[in-house]
Symmetry: C2
Subunit: 454 residues, 2 copies
């Protein structure tokens, strides 16, 4: 008798799991039904700011695979506009509502891939028109429509994280006056403040007005449309507002079904992505995962993790063996002509995790100094006192800077010390690096500082 | 009483050692004399093709530090135009010849950094004018002078390695007709032939004529100047010839002094860069080093290794502790609009080292497929059968492709398996990578192939 797999959530994590399971088990062995609340499945949410900016010309470009492809080529019964209201772990079924009806769908295996819930500020005026989140493809389409219809002149972006900065750039590209509001003293809280300050400087140079250290207190409007943002420091006129306040794991459905949720609010899973209930798996922005440096659970909303986790589930359901061992906290972003990347723990995160840290910041160039197109790159290395264990790296620079974070991410994966890192055999040629790669310079400086301190 | 340090060779390895030793020991504790045969010290030899191409406008740009800087700021007695003729390990002195005289210079510590000797073909006509090696800064200056004076139309580059390809591009940039001759079936012998074929294709598209599988047999000339290159397949007209036949370690001086030379022809050193004679160190293109994957000695002529090795010596002479553990064979090059990189062992090298291998080649893009500027990148992964141990990686692509080799180099450093590599937390954002980085795609394909074969 064939098994029944139900997937909740038709995006990266859910559809990766479904596809991978299908590759390993034919339709007569595994029946797959996937429920997606929205009208789009399997799209690149990370691409939305670039759609708004105009880098990506067509909504369809962000759609990795069309629903028909899943249905016809993979015999995955993908049902759009179908919201799962409840999971019954005893009866092994989910309750589904679509435009027409409410019904029960039984499962043997269940994949929960319900994604994240964007943080919405609970302040007066938050329901005014012109205030936009940036989570779904529909959000992106709505923003483009609003720009088109209302030709706003002044944009306020609330939240200086990755999405906030990418959206600030997108608004600049539409010729708007852009102001960025963040409660912290520097944008990009995933960096140390000194590296965040470099990002702030870059934003100012691009013409973004910064209102840092200001907390959002509300919105003002006229005729139902936003006209101003209120912060602890005053009023900022706004014809359009973009919210980039981050997301939290959308784990309510799982929690209501008695599935364990961890301290981050994400669904608890083991290395194979199994939840606390047998036969129920979870992946993507709704789960928490192990941070391999702090050894603590973290909830990281990133498409790349969602894909890997979904794939691991698909292999496991497909009678293979696959794990997702955790993350080291790697992230990268482009902000106008600047590139920003980080991996591991910030100084504050490391100290909170019980490490005693020190750090170095070095400045170098992306190519040999004499080579055309050489750009400035600043690299920060955070390491453990006494042992010199590498704990985190941060990069702010221009073209060619950010992808260097990957070498640091692999070094971190292996618990290298900064001294060991100075010997790494990284590639060198004048168009690609100075004879000492910026990463090696930073590691060397960190190793020297450790020796000096001894 | 102060110690006397003598350095033979005033380039990357030698001057790194001298500078680092000086940082740790003042002039009254350590007297440093450095002998350089040529008229330039501490320059970027890797930059010469870019000087010839015109990317680097001024010879001085390639000079990292001027002789006066060493003399005045660091009290390093750098003597240009001074050739060391012999090392007497018993009397602890070297025999030096300069324009004026021949003399003996005593040492307590000696650093041998004599570099590499370019392979010169022993064929008829090799002494004709217009045939140029590309090793020293003077070679670069001579080539520019020859281009200027004789306005050659047709260039033949002999040797399809890194230098050969970079010089082919440089000749194209001067508007010459360029033909590349290589005895192998594909250029870039440091790649597997299938990846080398991609480089060949790129070269042809750029307008380079390829004469592959042809061995150089001689040169023809008129009035002392080269007019043609002869190969096993015929004659190629040439107004200028560039030799890119690689180098071998210049270890003759060391060998004559009874210092151990290894099977590669490079001076044998331990992890701290000590030769077989106490108090005598060696670094740079004249030494052999351990390949950490094959566990065999290799001689790799690369400025980045020379710098690291020299620095390690300087720290050790400076009463610190430093090692150069070896290399994993990382290299990168730009050929017109293409980028080429490799790390680890090729299939042939791995088989020769006793591994039973398999490989995969994947094609992907440098950015999310929908993001402007996404370019093709082909990645090859070579792994060990049965265990899936990662043995080597090769990348051929366009802008943004090559530096990805660094993440593979660090993975190799740690002996990862391809399965382990699929989980690596590499950075993702649409301007920098598809949701699965090309490296992860290749690792995944390699892991899947391993499973399929079991």
């Amino acid at each position: 008798m064939s098994e029944r797999l139900v997937v909740i959530g038709g995006d990266a994590a859910g559809m990766s799991a479904a596809s991978q399971a299908r590759r390993r088990r034919p339709a007569d062995d595994l029946r797959i039904v996937a429920f997606e609340r929205g009208q789009h499945a399997s799209y690149s949410a990370c691409g939305i700011p670039y759609l708004v900016a105009g880098d990506v010309g067509d909504v369809d470009d962000l759609i990795a695979r069309r629903p028909e492809e899943f249905r016809e080529r993979q015999q995955i019964d993908l049902r759009l506009g179908s919201e799962v209201l409840a999971i019954d772990t005893d009866r092994r079924e989910v309750v589904v509502r679509d435009a027409a009806r409410e019904y029960h769908e039984p499962f043997d295996q269940l994949v929960i891939a319900t994604g994240g819930t964007p943080a919405r500020p609970e302040v007066p005026g938050a329901v005014l028109a012109g205030i936009h989140g940036v989570q779904t493809l529909d959000d992106g389409i709505r923003i483009l429509g609003y720009l088109d219809r209302h030709a706003p002149r002044r944009a306020v972006v609330v939240g200086g994280g990755y999405i906030g900065l990418e959206m600030a750039e997108a608004m600049l590209r539409h010729g708007l006056d852009v102001t960025l509001v963040d409660a912290a003293e520097q944008p990009m809280r995933t960096l140390d403040p000194d590296m965040g300050a470099l990002v702030a400087l870059a934003l100012e140079r691009e013409g973004v007005g910064l209102r840092l250290g200001e907390r959002l207190t509300g919105f003002a409007g006229r005729a139902g449309r936003v006209t101003a943002v209120h912060t602890t420091a005053g009023e900022i006129p706004a014809d359009i507002v973009i919210l980039g306040l981050g997301t939290r794991p959308n784990s309510g459905l799982a929690a209501a079904a008695g599935i364990d949720v961890g301290p981050t609010g994400g669904i608890r899973v083991d290395r194979r992505m199994r939840t606390s209930v047998a036969g129920i798996w979870a992946a993507g922005d709704c789960v928490e995962t192990l941070h391999l440096v702090s050894q603590r659970p973290v909830a990281v909303a990133l498409g790349t993790h969602a894909n890997k986790q979904g794939r691991a589930i698909g292999i496991n359901i497909g009678r293979g063996y696959a794990t997702f061992p955790g993350v080291v906290g790697t992230a990268v972003s482009k902000v106008c002509s600047h590139e920003v990347a980080r991996t591991g723990l910030t100084t504050a995160e490391a100290e909170a995790a019980g490490f005693s840290t020190y750090s170095v910041v070095t400045e170098s160039t992306t190519r040999a100094g004499y080579f055309p197109g050489a750009r400035t790159i600043k690299t920060k290395i955070i390491a453990e006192r006494t042992t010199g264990r590498f704990l985190g790296g941060q990069i702010v620079g221009q073209e060619g800077a950010a992808k260097r974070i990957d070498a640091l991410a692999v070094a971190l994966w292996h618990g290298m010390t900064v001294e060991e890192m100075t010997a790494l055999d990284l590639s060198y040629a004048p168009p690609f690096a100075p004879v000492w790669d910026p990463i090696l310079i930073a590691a060397r400086k960190a190793a020297e500082k450790l020796t000096d301190d001894r």
